[in-house]
């Protein structure tokens, strides 16, 4: 029963702040909504946006909720369509929400977006707000953080590689010298085969 109910109720799969962020604006709460709306629109259009971290964190919940509603109710539902009409200022993106994003995330069991923090920019007198990157999962762009285990650029690996290369070089020179000596002996037998390192 609870699992069935859980399917009916849209739920956010992201950590939500206990209190909404004020996001000060000269136009007050309507200006805040306008900002968030443009952020959600940009996210749906570009699939990856870089902005102030708190603004992204705030807009993320609205985007998740919008996608979840689109998955649950489809484009026949009036309320969902109204919400899509409100949150997406570029109207061709409503098609994208229902035709691309809803099928893409229909089987997802985790959040539809990922949010990353960017380090502070060390400029002189920097008073800029911390920035972040928000992206839709499954986008076609290069991954921001992939789980590759390529460790060849670690300092000790670089040093070990260099040491290994030098050792090999020395060994080859030694073998070459031995071979030359064997040739100089002018014996009939062929030079000794190098036995690797």
């Amino acid at each position: 029963m609870t699992s069935q109910l859980g399917r009916l109720i849209p739920q956010l799969r992201i950590p939500v702040q206990p209190k909404y962020r004020p996001l000060r604006n000269v136009e007050g709460s309507y200006g805040r909504l306008k900002n968030l709306r443009s952020t959600v629109t940009a996210l749906v259009r570009d699939e990856r946006v870089e902005m102030q971290y708190i603004r992204l964190d705030e807009a993320r919940g609205y985007a998740e909720r919008l996608i979840h509603d689109a998955i649950l109710h489809g484009d026949r539902d009036t309320h969902t369509m109204d919400m899509a009409n409100f949150w997406l200022t570029e109207k061709q993106l409503i098609h994208k929400l229902f035709k691309v994003l809803a099928p893409r995330y229909a089987e997802h069991r985790s959040s539809f977006t990922s949010l990353y923090k960017l380090p502070p920019a060390y400029r002189e007198n920097d008073k800029g707000a911390p920035r972040g990157v928000l992206e839709l999962k499954g986008n076609p762009f290069p991954p921001l953080r992939d789980g590759s285990t390529d460790r060849k650029h670690l300092l000790h690996n670089v040093l070990l590689d260099e040491a290994r290369r030098q050792y090999r070089h020395k060994k080859y020179q030694q073998l070459a010298a031995e071979a030359r000596a064997a040739l100089a002996d002018s014996s009939a037998e062929p030079p000794r085969r190098p036995s690797g390192d």
Partner: protein, 207 residues
């Protein structure tokens, strides 16, 4: 430095002189700003004093009302610098530039970054490529409603996609080769050809 000190001292002296004149005039009841005005500017003033005639009995020696809300003592250079840059003894060493001891290094490029954040070197590389791709997608899409997933196709990758697959997605072709670091599969070879032809350069000017 010495010049600066001289200028500061000169300013200070002028200020002292000005106050001396004001105090002198207040005591003697001469011209200039009347003591009543000066006192009124300084705050609450008893009415009797404002009513004192200029030629009458001199008012009592200037009380502390004259120098309200101005520094009473000179702040020493040490104090000033401490206030400006903070000190070890302050809570949390406020204002001091402190080294970060929690930096970690990127497994991909080896540069340092803060834990829980993105490596800026890798991110800048990804960002420039992403912006290029976004521009290409937007140009191809125009204002038509997007109805299919977008697939990025670099040069030389179109042949690997059959027509059925190509119909299911919206292909965005780029006139360049896939970057070496952006591989779909880490075990898969990228399309960038390895340079096979090398031209040896003979050293010159050795004699």
């Amino acid at each position: 430095m010495i010049n600066g000190v001289r200028v500061v001292w000169g300013n200070w002296q002028r200020t002292i002189d000005r106050y001396a004149v004001i105090i002198y005039q207040a005591i003697n009841g001469g011209g200039g700003p009347s003591p009543a005005l000066a006192l009124a500017a300084a705050g609450g003033v008893p009415h009797q004093r404002a009513a004192t005639p200029p030629g009458g009995a001199p008012p009592p020696v200037a009380d502390d009302g004259f120098l309200w809300a101005v520094p009473k003592y000179r702040r020493s250079v040490e104090r000033r610098m401490m206030r400006r840059y903070g000190a070890e003894s302050w809570p949390n060493g406020r204002k001091l530039i402190k080294p970060k001891n929690n930096l970690i290094f990127c497994l991909k490029c080896g540069s340092h970054y803060l834990p829980g954040m993105l490596c800026m070197t890798c991110y800048n590389r990804v960002k420039s490529e992403t912006e290029e791709l976004q521009k290409a997608v937007a140009q191809q899409q125009g204002l038509t409603p997007p109805d299919r997933e977008v697939a990025i196709v670099y040069r030389g990758e179109r042949e690997a996609i059959d027509d059925q697959q190509a119909k299911a997605v919206r292909l965005v072709e780029l006139p360049k080769e896939r970057p070496r670091w952006f591989s779909k599969n880490l075990m898969q070879r990228t399309t960038t050809p390895v340079a096979t032809e090398t031209a040896p350069v003979k050293p010159s000017d050795l004699g």
